[in-house]
């Protein structure tokens, strides 16, 4: 009963909303925030909330954009801010964005691949932040 109410209210809010569009996961000393589908200003607050819960567990974040079909500058902004915060607390931020995919194209255009390392897989990204330098 309770779960059906939750489902109904989720459908009423946004019929297209994917309940797993933003997910946070803890793995060996870092938090992985995985984005699925399209992300822009409307999902920015959800991604920021995911960052907040990630900071509570670790000082490093991996943004996994392998499942994201579209990101706009709002999402890039959240990741740049996260990188700044990580740098202040001795952590690191890495991004999983397979070359040629939509997120990689946006990140390359904005020209922030120098400060936010782009990696092909989640394992590579986790290795990057565990061996900073």
């Amino acid at each position: 009963m309770a779960s059906s109410i939750v489902i109904i209210s989720a459908i009423l809010e946004d019929p297209l909303a994917d309940p797993e569009a933003v997910s946070v996961e803890q793995v060996e000393g870092a938090s992985v925030i995985a984005l699925r589908g399209e992300h822009d200003l409307s999902t920015g607050p959800a991604i920021e909330a995911a960052c907040d819960s990630a900071w509570a567990h670790s000082s490093s974040i991996v943004f996994d954009l392998a499942g994201a079909t579209f990101i706009d500058s709002t999402v890039v902004g959240v990741m740049v801010s996260a990188r700044r915060r990580a740098a202040e607390s001795g952590g690191a931020v890495a991004v999983v964005a397979p070359a040629g995919g939509p997120p990689a194209r946006v990140l390359t255009l904005v020209g922030i691949n120098d400060v936010l390392p782009l990696r092909e897989t989640r394992d590579e990204a986790l290795r990057t932040i565990s061996a900073p330098g």
Partner: protein, 342 residues
């Protein structure tokens, strides 16, 4: 005058209740009239609403037949309070509208005249759907002392008053440097330094901004392009479109050590148009329920199909077809500029 009309209206509303036996509807019309007065006070102001409420109270007590004066009279201060609150809300709304208007004015070019030096500059700024969601796209075009024409389009990441206010500061700063004839790469470095300082000073929520600067030489034979994380400009000629393919410099506000190199762009003798825009133009949907983004791949053939130079109607046609594909207004601000020889 307005108060008189309101009182007459109220009497008109009260009239049927006077005709119908008061006994059957006792208790209904009195409160109803008073409520109308309080609502008028909130919606139209206390100077209008309190007299209406007073008439309501008088009617409720003397004509329709409430039992005592004490209770209905309480509605007079209530009405005055509602009116004052309503005035504050209206004042706040008006102030917000004015601020947004003023911020928007600061984002766009100062002159309406499309003639800028030897160029004809057609510009469009389409704010994001909601008036409350002011964003940070900005642009400008000025003639430099040498006769070169400097064109700039920028996009501050983030939304809201902070993004818009920062965008107006960056635009004003760009204009000053451009009019003084400072080179584009030095200008971008100065804007980068400013944004980094703003982030320090006010713990700004603005993570970065992107810029495209295009300076067309006075002889119209070449242009210098400097890109900071922004979509590259598109050169449209009778032979088709040419997109600047040099790797872009980074967005500003990210690193103090970033540098930006100008790239030359040769301009042909036959007619041409230089198209500069913000990403909002190509980030809508491909179809009303299709995926995002619309993409540059769809924009280029559309531009190539126009007769050169691209005119006002063509620019509007581009915006229309991008909006149609999206199935309505675009989710983000859009700036679209074309510059062509006059």
């Amino acid at each position: 005058m307005a108060a008189l009309v309101a009182v007459l209206c109220e009497l008109a509303i009260a009239l049927p209740f006077l005709v119908i036996s008061p006994n059957t509807v006792r208790g209904v019309p009195g409160p109803l009239l008073v409520v109308i007065g309080v609502a008028a006070s909130y919606l139209l102001g206390p100077w209008f609403g309190v007299p209406v409420t007073a008439v309501g109270v008088v009617l409720a007590v003397t004509i329709v037949g409430e039992n005592a004066w004490a209770a209905p009279l309480v509605w007079l201060p209530v009405s005055a309070g509602a009116g004052i609150v309503g005035d504050q809300v209206r004042h706040g709304d008006e102030l917000r509208r004015e601020l947004i208007e003023e911020l928007r004015r600061g984002l766009v070019g100062i002159y309406r005249d499309p003639a800028v030096g030897r160029l004809n500059v057609v510009s469009r700024y389409i704010p994001a759907v909601s008036a409350q969601r002011i964003a940070g796209d900005f642009y400008g075009a000025v003639v430099q002392p040498t006769g070169d024409v400097a064109i700039m389009v920028g996009d501050v990441a983030g939304h809201g008053p902070a993004a818009a206010a920062l965008a107006t500061r960056l635009r004003a700063m760009w204009r000053g440097l451009a009019v003084a004839g400072v080179s584009d790469s030095e200008t971008v470095s100065a804007l980068n330094e400013t944004l980094l300082a703003e982030q320090q000073r006010i713990a700004s929520q603005i993570p970065f901004a992107t810029l495209c600067l295009a300076t067309v030489a006075a002889d119209l034979r070449s242009a210098q392009i400097v890109i900071a994380g922004h979509p590259p400009p598109i050169l449209v000629t009778e032979r088709g479109t040419h997109e600047d393919t040099h790797p872009p410099g980074p967005a500003i506000g990210i690193s103090a050590t970033s540098t930006w190199e100008p790239h030359p762009l040769a301009l042909p003798d036959d007619p041409w148009s230089l198209v500069v825009y913000t990403d909002g133009l190509v980030e809508g949907r491909t179809a009303p329920d299709g995926p995002r983004p619309y993409g540059r791949d769809r924009l280029l053939p559309m531009l190539a199909a126009f007769a050169v130079p691209i005119g006002e109607d063509d620019v509007d046609a581009v915006l229309r077809s991008v909006q149609d594909a999206n199935g309505g207004a675009l989710p983000d601000d859009v700036v679209l500029i074309t510059a062509s020889p006059r």
